[in-house]
Amino acid sequence: MTNDQIHAIDLPAVELSDFKRHPKRFLKKKLIAKFLFFIPLLIAVIVLGFIIEEFWIFWAALGLWVFLFALGLFISYKEYFVRGYVLREYDITYRHGWMFHHETTVPFNRIQHTEIKDGPIDRLFTLCELEIYTAGGSASDLNLSGLDPEDAARLKEYIAGKTVLHA
């Protein structure tokens, strides 16, 4: 056992760690969820085509739908590859977002509690969401969506063990 003095300056930078990616099926889930989101809009466009006499409006609406749908899928696809988390001895870092990329680090001694959630589509793909809460407003809470349930439970356990030291 060692008991060396630790200086803040000597601690390693987050950028040196390997970010762990979410399971591949999370990408599938995301794409399917996006598709489900766009179906009502497609129905609306088709109904519009039946109501309105002028054809060009229908084609324009359909074109817009196709464009938005493709863009949505593209962004979801891109996002998967930049999403990831790093668990270190004293903190957790999460990065997400392609258009707007965020990277947030929360030290364990500032975490209040954690929660595991899942929805119907999540369960279909055996995925779940880990929420990490801090005090005050909700701006600094982390939402790690699309984790393997076993991984999530392990993460939760690990974080709980760390936070209890500081409570």
């Binding site: 300056i9 601690l11 977002g97 707007f100 680090t105 030290p107 005050g136």
Partner: protein, 503 residues
């Protein structure tokens, strides 16, 4: 010393307070009911109304008073209330952030005050005891604070805290003899009022007038028919001449000034700030009195705001933020009219030191601020300019072009004034050129550090910075990526090593 071991009721006068509150809430409803029924001779309707009025006006307040009790049990403050739905709230004393004493007009007439207990975890409004005698409230407040401090003390057992605790106990005896750090006289209030953001006051007044206009119109039309039929805003606009516009602007300015004056005096009348032991005490208010007591070690963020008018007087407005609960508005206290000396003193009081000279400083990239502004505004403004040019209204075309140039210049200046300074203890963010703002927060109170960027910033290697504390998030934009990365790691590592209590 106050004995609160058994459930205590509020002052009996609080019944009157509840009566007033209920009657006020139902007045409009009853008026509508009476107008709506029209037939006041029907004895059954009158009887029903009277019974309802009696119940809501007299019996309900009495029940509410009777079933509202509070006491301290062990290390918890217990509040029990409710007639049909009983409710029992237990607040651990160590969780109490601050105890505020407020007094609105009705409470002043009845010589009552309401005590508001703030915690980080609950919505502030729920923990309110609305009808207490002032003396009782004062000793209740001190009791809560003393007990909260002693609970915390026994848990933490830090020598530093114990020492300050002793100092506080000594202070408590002579709180009233303390010289206030800052007290504002009438001339100060006038200065603050005149340097308010008048534009906001003006639009506030305008909003109220417009809001009332439709209500009044509704009412009048109901009784007198369509008197407004021949009156249309369009007519007024079509008659508008230059002189009318000027008169309108003058009226707007005048009303804005009056509104600013009234609001300022009502809010800050009798403002006093004092330090007693480990607490900052603020009291203010003309019609609605407010007394706030903030534990200094629970302050998360200190901000200084100013505007071009105030800068002439060298005044800043300080804002103090404590940990806030989810959903509730941030609990902040304003200290208007801080001179530079006062600003420094506040920093010393709250954080023990102001920022050292030998600090590292990161500067924002002003060009990026200007570019963002230009990109966003050029589309609508250039389109508008072109349209005006096409219709040969050259003045407006020039105006829209000037707006674009001015806002872009403004954004550039804002960017020039945006920077992050740090030393070992404190983090100082500043932004804004005309409306300058300084944000100071201790590094160890940080909860999470975030850096973020849009896809367009990747190539430029720039990034935004955001910090999260228990009192909310603050962020600045456009820094060099490598600098922010280093800062983020440095802050994070400092937080990891910090053992101090941060909430």
């Amino acid at each position: 010393m106050l004995d609160l071991s058994t459930p205590t009721r509020q002052s009996k006068k609080s019944i009157l307070l509840y009566v007033f509150k209920n009657v006020k809430g139902l007045l409009l409803f009853f008026l509508y009911a009476i107008f709506g029924i029209g037939d006041l001779t029907d004895i059954r309707i009158m009887l029903g109304l009277t019974v309802a009025f009696l119940f809501i006006g007299v019996i309900a307040p009495f029940l509410k008073y009777y079933f509202f009790t509070f006491h301290v049990e062990g290390e918890e403050l217990i509040i029990q209330q409710g007639v049909l739905n009983k409710e029992r709230k237990a607040i651990p004393l160590e969780r109490i952030q601050s105890v505020n004493i407020n007094q609105n007009l009705m409470q002043r007439i009845l010589h009552l005050v309401s005590v508001e207990v703030e915690t980080a975890g609950s919505k502030a409004k729920e923990l309110e005891i609305p009808g207490l005698d002032l003396e009782f409230a004062e000793s209740f407040k001190n009791l809560l604070h003393d007990q909260a401090a002693s609970v915390e003390n026994s848990i933490e057992d830090s020598t530093e805290f114990a020492a300050s605790q002793v100092a506080m106990d000594e202070d408590n005896g002579r709180v009233n003899t303390h010289e206030p750090l800052l007290s504002l006289g009438i001339s100060d209030l006038l200065k603050i009022a005149m340097t308010q953001n008048h534009l906001r006051s003006g639009f506030l007044a305008l909003g109220i007038v417009v809001g009332f206009w439709y209500k009044i119109q509704d009412l009048v039309e109901r009784f007198y028919g369509d008197v407004f039929e021949n009156f249309k805003w369009e007519d007024i606009l079509s008659y508008a001449s230059l002189s009318l516009v000027i008169v309108a602007i003058l009226i707007f300015v005048f009303v804005s000034l009056i509104v600013s004056l009234v609001r300022t005096i009502n809010k800050y009348y009798g403002f006093e700030l004092r330090k007693s032991g480990n607490y900052l005490e603020v009291q203010m208010g003309l019609l609605n009195k407010k007394e706030v007591k903030i534990p200094i070690n629970k302050i998360q963020i200190l901000e200084f705001h100013t505007n071009p008018l105030r800068r002439l007087l060298n005044y800043h407005t300080a804002k103090i933020f404590q940990a806030q609960s989810d959903g509730s508005k941030s609990t902040s206290v304003d200290i208007p009219a801080c001179s530079p000396a006062m600003m420094k003193e506040l920093q010393y009081i709250i954080y023990d030191h102001s920022l050292q000279e030998s600090h590292s400083s990161l500067n924002s990239i002003p060009l990026s601020h200007a570019r963002l502004n230009a990109y966003i505004l050029s589309v609508p403004l250039l389109a508008a300019g072109a349209a005006f040019f096409y219709f040969e209204i050259y003045i407006l075309a020039v105006v829209s072009l000037l707006i674009l140039v001015w806002t872009t210049f403004n954004a550039y200046k804002d960017g020039q004034n945006t920077s992050i300074k740090t030393d070992k203890e404190l983090l100082l963010l500043q932004h804004g050129w005309l409306f300058h703002c300084i944000i100071i927060t201790p590094v160890f109170k940080m909860q999470a550090i975030e850096k973020w960027r849009s896809i367009f910033l990747v190539r430029r290697q720039q990034i935004h910075f955001k910090l999260h504390t228990a009192a909310g998030s603050r962020g600045l934009r456009y820094f060099k990526e490598s600098e922010i990365t280093a800062l983020k790691n440095q802050i994070n590592n400092q937080v990891i090593l910090s053992e101090r209590s941060w909430m």
